[in-house]
Amino acid sequence: MRVQESYPVDVDAIRADFPILQRKVGGDISTPGEHDDDDTPLVYLDNAATSHTPEQVVDAIIDYYHGYNSNVHRGIHHLSQEASVAYENAHDRVAEFIGASGGREEVVFTKNTTESMNLVAYAWGLDELGPGDSVVMTEMEHHASLVTWQQIAKKTGAEVRYIRVDDDGRLDMEHAKELIDDSTKMVSVVHVSNTLGTVNPVSELADMAHEVGAYAFVDGAQSVPTRPVDVEDIDADFFAFSGHKMCGPTGIGALYGKRDILEEMQPYLYGGEMIRSVTYEDSTWEDLPWKFEAGTPPIAQGVGFAAAVDYLDDIGMENVQAHEELLAEYAYDRLGEFDDIEIYGPPGDDRGGLVAFNLDSVHAHDLSSILNEQGVAIRAGDHCTQPLHDKLGAAASTRASFYIYNTREEVDALIDAIDAARELFA
């Protein structure tokens, strides 16, 4: 019962579901899958980049390939029908997970958050934006939205605006009020910052968008995996996230969109699966969400995505959030013990489960290389928030990010490894 007393989730039981956490690292990397020469235990703290995949999800994917692998919506044969039911149900399951009452019609499967963003930018933005219009983002936007809207704005003549981030790493909501005005057609904001860990008031921002008749697009890549999310409570018009950051496989993500908006939008990709009827002259489109899923979709990944959502629901997203917050606060406090460490973003008791920082004397890339030599996997770089790093005055930072299987001992291992780097560079 020790574990249940000290953590909001049963970490030991969860770790047993993730065989990869048992492996060692440090050997030859040119032979992926062969681990004979690895000798350093893995401490995986790069979960904001991608999470690991539990056996239950891998099993669901194996069951699909072994049991009912087939193309969907095409065959009348038995396998195709089973695959179609599973793939369609996966949409409903993911919709339920994020509180989308419209079910599958409001959830489009995409490759990832980035593609979800591009889908709206191309299918809606290219048609609807023009000179005199503005898209409002935040200074802490991930490149997935920042670059996408920036480039669509260039194509359409629209203007992009960025809500200021204050010294504590929070959004300046007064500035938001100034920026969101009658010219604004889209407010695209990140829910949980993948660099600062800030949890943004997205519901308030959505209200501000709606007051001026704009849409609100929430980038939920870091929020859906780590906390309960209800897109209808937020009142987001669009919401994007990735399966691979929430125990699911790579190659699948989702775009939530309010049904009436998705219905008005034109397709983004054309081809098979998304059409109702085709002549040499013209075509008509399938119903939602298939209108936006051209070509053979990621069927196994969709099945795995639904299994990932089942897995997280079994743990309970409130518990996932509590565990994330516990580790974030612990890491914030431990890193905060050192005068030569600068931590970015809001205080430890008010952030998502990640901490980005810099060590005075050691470049982030040197630090991550040295941590890697000790088995500690963290991220160094700009984490796809280059303009934010420019603003922070740091070319790069080091980021530790946590998930349901991480422990305080792993945070301690990070601190010890940082000590070693400090010593080496002294």
Binding site: V362, H363, H365, D366, D382, L424
Partner: protein, 142 residues
């Protein structure tokens, strides 16, 4: 750890902490600057040629960045004098890892080769082969 580190062997740390030929030359034949946009590593190489216009006589570097990029630049300033521009041109990544004497992990190669790239581009600009303001290594970081 110290001695246990694979990439940060004594030689690298020594060049990083006590960079050789660090600073600027008084009258370089050519000067060039480059950066790794994602890491923020920057390096300026000053190169002075002998009267034959082909043999490298002196090299100095200045810059800022990770230990691998700066140590690599420092070592290069010792390595290049006495070689010719065409020998510089022929230097490849293997030559750099050999010079560093450690295995550089794939993600860090661009740090290791920045100085060489800057020197090579500087030479090409000097020869009128290319026209660029600055060397930028590919942004492989996400």
């Amino acid at each position: 750890m110290g001695i246990g580190s694979d990439m940060y062997r004594q030689q690298i740390m020594d060049h990083y902490k006590n960079p050789r030929n660090h600073g600027r030359l008084e009258s370089p034949t050519f000067t060039h600057t480059g950066e790794n946009p994602s890491c923020g590593d920057t390096i300026t190489m000053d190169v002075q040629l002998a009267d034959d216009g082909e043999t490298i006589e002196r090299v100095a570097f200045s810059g800022d960045g990770c230990a691998i990029s700066q140590a690599s630049a420092s070592m290069l300033t010792q390595r290049l004098p006495g070689t010719t521009l065409s020998e510089l041109e022929a230097m490849d990544t293997d030559d750099i890892t050999e010079m560093l004497g450690v295995d550089i992990s794939p993600m860090r190669i661009k740090c290791a080769v920045l100085a060489r790239q800057v020197a090579q581009d500087g030479a090409k600009i000097h020869d009128g082969e290319i026209e660029i303001e600055q060397t930028k290594t590919e942004d492989g970081d996400d």
